[in-house]
Symmetry: C2
Subunit: 335 residues, 2 copies
Amino acid sequence: MTSPKRTERVTLKDVARVAGVSDISVSRVMRRAPNISDGLRDKVIQAANDLGYTPNRLAGALKTANSNLVAVVVPSMSNEVFPEVLDGIDSVLSANGLSAVLGISKYDPDREVEAVRELLAWSPMGLILTGLNASAAVTRMVEAQGIPVVQIMDTDGTAIQSAVGISHSAAGAAAADFLLDRGYGAPGYVGAWGERPARSRIRREAFAARLAERGAPLQGYKILPGQSSAPLGAEALASLLSEHPGLDSVFFANDDLAVGALFHCMANGIRVPQDLALLGFNGIAIGSATPTKLTSISTQRFRMGVEAAKLLIDNDPDSPKTVDLGFSFTDGASV
Amino acid sequence: MTSPKRTERVTLKDVARVAGVSDISVSRVMRRAPNISDGLRDKVIQAANDLGYTPNRLAGALKTANSNLVAVVVPSMSNEVFPEVLDGIDSVLSANGLSAVLGISKYDPDREVEAVRELLAWSPMGLILTGLNASAAVTRMVEAQGIPVVQIMDTDGTAIQSAVGISHSAAGAAAADFLLDRGYGAPGYVGAWGERPARSRIRREAFAARLAERGAPLQGYKILPGQSSAPLGAEALASLLSEHPGLDSVFFANDDLAVGALFHCMANGIRVPQDLALLGFNGIAIGSATPTKLTSISTQRFRMGVEAAKLLIDNDPDSPKTVDLGFSFTDGASV
DNA sequence: TTTTTGTTTGGTAACGTTGTCATCTGAAAG
DNA sequence: CTTTCAGATGACAACGTTACCAAACAAAAA
């Protein structure tokens, strides 16, 4: 029984010695470089397996100045959206031998800068950021590093290089049209998180602007400080209705809030959509299971991650791209 | 306007040259080593800022054989549970200058092995795995690397070193007691994902065993192949009830399924809990906003991540720990 | 046969950092 | 006025890889 103490790392040299070849040949076999004879390859693989050799990527990445890491910074994990995007990112990265290093900014620009600084120190081959409102410090750092950057979620604004997302202003305007076209004339709005995800503010403003444009201005809105959740949505709607009893429809910053609001209506005898229409945002699964199916604006989050990772991988520095994945209305019964 | 081309990396040497000191002094200042005069520190910091210097962790980690990375392997992101755990992990890691490198196994043991191999190549200072059922290959690799390992979610079984989680067999048994103690005598069970997360199978088996022990055996169960979601829960319950109309209570593998089932009941005139009691698992936010509050077994997922990261950081290789965070019943109205 | 060409292998020198061992101050102790 | 010692700083050699160039060899062309 061997001691479970610090095992000396098995290196290329060890494998080379055992296989009776040069270091560099081992390196080439491990990297599947071309022009390797079968004999050499077999000897090396045999020796590597015998010794339990694992390449040290730290050394390889240092030498080639090209780690197979991708830095990903998202604002939060306690929100269905980002895990789904991450899932999409990882599905592409892992298929290409890349790994994601994660940073969570908690919607705090300073933390984002810190996270980016921290992650860039690993010489990632690319960076995925959330939102287009990157601080100047972040922009400077990534430009100094000279790596591809893809910003996700948002296409309203100027990207550092490339972006994959949707136009939140278009979504807000579309929500307004959707409600007005269906005859609602007294719309309200509910948000959360103090609108720290700037994207929800953009939607609200575009929603309000389009409503005003069409002569049916926003009657009232409520933005609570807490994190989005169904209970918070119920609370927000109750509070909004007490201040604005005349509302006939409400647009929500996300489906969590909208579902909670739907529950509030069910519990309080408010008929949906006859007395009040509810329009969500994001199109998460639960909305399609509620007794009254939630009408929502659905977005493609997994795909957003996939496209972002792809853009990073076959990056063409000379032609940054902005990919708008669009959105669509789910056929619910709450509007 | 400088060309956005490949910028040469700014290294310690550059900073040292500009500051007029030795390389190693710059290194020491950057690492906040002791015994540095204020004069030296100021010169170095000034130069580093002027040049926009960022340390290269690849080189540092290679030299010290100690990266500040923690490898985290989870089975999925499309499940509220793991993002929350990750959030907890990251909160501790980021406070300690560590970063998480992520691997997603998709509940596939082969992918898990691959992810671990991939991540270990970065010489992480620790590894967080999901579940206690790590394959022999994984165990061998981490032992060869000699780094601390913490396994999360589960405490029923043998950990490689340390574990943080709950006892799913205890939870299953407690669910049985909970229902029986409240007078229900004909319980059923609903699961999903083909029970690939082994933990849900353990809960079901313990649930069934305790029921049998107390003379009220499990009447029937339904485990659908698809991923857990509210719509799937509704579907599963409908199907279960058609096969076993006499059920008076159902225990669910998770709250997503249970909430969907609750909706199914509401839409079909099944009174909860008079006609049918529903007991969930996980205690996610939405369950406390439904018109009939969902009764559930709540677990501490964020804290699980926190404790796992802490265990990794102040690791004592000689005394691995198993931390059982326990569970509790939420005071819902569905049982 | 000789020359050309291409395939296969090896030697050497980095990549950017830090551990280890000097060296050099200057002040306290003798 | 030495000796001692702690506090600062520096020189050098790694860490484990891979890029680059050179060399050996074999096969094809002349």
